[in-house]
């Protein structure tokens, strides 16, 4: 503290823990770039029905027509013709880890996935580049009618249920990246929880990009039927390459009357991944939808999980953490659209920037005319760890009804010298003291996580902070 320490590269521990890659020989890899023939090839590889192929091709047209967003981050850097849109790593998906090819299994072992499945999960899906290599749900849940499949298998095995909901919450025309995902989607999770069934332990999906210049476009669809309950968790990592990869997912969720869904993301992509994801839920009468969205990795993230409150009594909870270090831009946030009377929403955003990183909150609260008695609170706190980092807050409000209660609070603080000195005086080294302050700052969100994930979050924060306090 007496002398300024050298600022080291952020996330220096990432490479060893998550940033490794495997040399695997995929069973199929599409050529670089995107056009109609690539989309047709993906659809043919998957043996899809004609309606899905047509859906994809239409979406491709939308993608080509739509301009790139001119707000948020610098998406102009993405070279869409340099990306591989589909890579199939294995011939078959399995329910048995021993059948996963050894080098791929080793990856998931290093990431601790099979161990977590044993300990505290109801089911696990593991996606490697474009396809799911492992997928399994506990037998007692399957017996109760819970469906947890990769999305492609769900299209095959439950075509009617699938078609009833697919693309209804986020149409391809929604935005350029939703259109792209709709054209080339592969993998992701499909979950159906029948009426009244409560899945008490989380279902987890793990997304891994391994190949260079890879595009990962998983597509997730979750239907929580009346009075049911589910917690879905996703994690993601990738190797560190000098050139960029693209991750562009679409997540659609339907939460029916009295049901509850919590969707937790711990996004820890390497710093060469563009992460441009559209996530939206529709919540019906007295339903609760909760997004817990933590973004620590990627080069650029643009992600605003949304809840459309469709019927009275619906509730939305959006907890967002954005941590941007050197060379990172986290444009995170959320949206709550109050389309019915007496609906409620709460948004808590915590953003942290260091080493020149840029993190922020971009959010929208919308109340439709006639949606009387709605309540919404938004709280955004930003923590800056040094002088040259940046924090942005863009809280948009579109309130078309008078009889509502809307609260908004925002704070920006700098990590205090006094706080550091206080902790250090008790013998705690500077980097650990700073990590402690950051962990404390996001504690209102981590305390909502199951213990295992809270521990993981704090470990990742520690990793972000290692050796880089100036």
């Amino acid at each position: 503290m007496n002398e300024p320490q050298q600022t080291l590269d952020i996330r220096e521990g990432y490479k060893e823990k998550f940033g490794f890659h495997d040399d695997i020989a995929p069973v199929f890899k599409s050529r670089r770039g995107l056009d109609k023939s690539v989309v047709e090839e993906i659809s043919a590889m998957k043996g899809e029905p004609a309606w899905m192929r047509d859906f994809r091709l239409k979406a491709l047209e939308q993608f080509e027509k739509k301009p790139l967003p001119n707000w948020g981050g610098n998406v102009g850097e993405i070279d869409f013709q340099n990306i591989f849109y589909y890579l199939k790593p294995t011939e078959e998906q399995t329910k048995n880890w021993d059948e996963v090819p050894a080098d791929i299994k080793r990856t998931f072992d290093r990431l601790g996935i099979p161990e977590a499945e044993q300990k505290f999960l109801s089911g696990v899906g593991a996606q490697y580049d474009s396809e799911t290599v492992y997928h399994k749900i506990k037998q007692d849940l399957a017996d109760k009618g819970v469906i947890f499949l990769d999305t492609g298998s769900a299209l095959e095995q439950h075509p009617d249920l699938f078609r009833q909901y697919f693309g209804t919450i986020i149409p391809p025309s929604d935005n350029k990246f939703a259109a792209l995902n709709s054209a080339v989607w592969s993998g992701g999770s499909f979950i159906y929880v029948p009426k009244g069934v409560k899945v008490d332990m989380p279902l987890q999906a793990y997304f891994r990009i391994n190949a260079q210049n890879m595009g990962q476009f998983e597509r997730t669809l979750i239907i929580v039927d009346e009075g049911a309950w589910v917690h879905y968790v996703e994690g993601c990592t990738a190797p560190i390459y000098a050139s960029d990869s693209l991750h562009s997912a679409v997540v659609e969720i339907i939460v029916k009357k009295g049901a509850r869904c919590r969707y937790t993301t711990i996004q820890n992509w390497s710093n060469n991944v563009f992460n441009l994801v559209t996530k939206r839920a529709a919540a019906y009468q007295d339903a609760t939808m909760e997004w817990v969205d933590a973004n620590l990795g990627s080069k650029l993230t643009m992600k605003y999980p949304s809840v459309y409150l469709m019927e009275p009594g619906a509730h939305a909870e959006i907890l967002s953490i954005a941590f941007a270090g050197k060379g990172q831009h986290q444009d995170a946030g959320g949206k709550a659209v109050h389309g019915a009377p007496n609906t409620t929403s709460s948004v808590v955003s915590k953003s942290i920037s260091k080493d020149g990183g840029r993190a922020g909150y971009r959010g929208l609260i919308k109340v439709a005319k006639g949606a009387k008695g709605c309540k919404s609170t938004v709280r955004c706190d930003a923590l800056l760890l040094d002088e040259h980092s940046r924090s942005d807050t863009y809280p948009y409000m579109e309130i078309e009804e008078d009889q509502v209660s809307i609260g908004h609070e925002a704070t920006v603080s700098k990590i205090g010298d006094e706080q550091l000195f206080y902790l250090m005086s008790r013998g705690i080294p500077e980097a650990e003291a700073a990590a402690m302050i950051v962990s404390g700052f996001i504690e209102p969100i981590t305390k909502e996580l199951p213990m295992e994930y809270a521990v993981e979050m704090n470990r990742l924060i520690q990793l972000q902070m290692e050796g880089s306090v100036g």
């Binding site: 503290m1 007496n2 205090g416 010298d417 006094e418 706080q419 000195f421 206080y422 902790l423 250090m424 005086s425 008790r426 013998g427 705690i428 080294p429 500077e430 650990e432 003291a433 402690m436 302050i437 962990s439 404390g440 700052f441 996001i442 504690e443 209102p444």
Partner: protein, 257 residues
Amino acid sequence: MTSAKPTLEIRDLHVAVEGKPILKGLSLAVNKGEIHALMGPNGSGKSTLANALMGNPKYEITGGSIHLNGVDVLELSADERGRKGLFLAFQYPTAIPGVSVANFLRMALTARRKEMGMEKPLPPKEFRALVKEKMALLRMDDSFAGRYINDGFSGGEKKRAEILQMAVLQPEIAVLDETDSGLDIDALRIVSEGVNALSGPNLGVLLITHYQRILNYIKPQFVHVLVDGRIVKSGGPELAHELEAQGYDWVREIQAA
């Protein structure tokens, strides 16, 4: 004490804050087993001494030396000083929202133990028992361990929390910076009893205070009077009473004479 070197030895210390000299040649030695009171009027440099001892980077050492068990403290960062057994009970402890007292104590204790050659942290069960015991000493409710450090604490709670940290970390030298300020009589008694329970042959205490009041509860063997950055008078406990009776103007007069 018969050991050759004092536990804490401050020699001719000069300290400046934002370029302004505050301490102008302060010398003081504190041994384990001793309680020293350092008294002085506002602006005499009491808190500057406390901060300089602990290594607050805002305080610039412009001359002199500080040694702890013969080690040059000025070469050490604040965390190294803490691990080596120097402790400061802050006058205005800082809030760390989201970090629980228990978590903080666990990390600090682990760091301190490591320095003392104990590689492993105290097992959770023993740690909990230790904290519980020390909280009982300070008449703190068990729920206190789960609260965020100094966040929303009353003045009395903050001071008790400081003494709790001292009790758990077992320093060799504890500097109490106006621990009595802002305390009502009951809180002052509890805090003082805590300090008394902790003092003994393994702890040296430097009690920094403006008022004689706390010395009704904690009995120092040595009293020093600080005026304008220098110790102008040292003596036994009777000196505190003289000060109380005659005020600081009295020592200023001595100094002027």
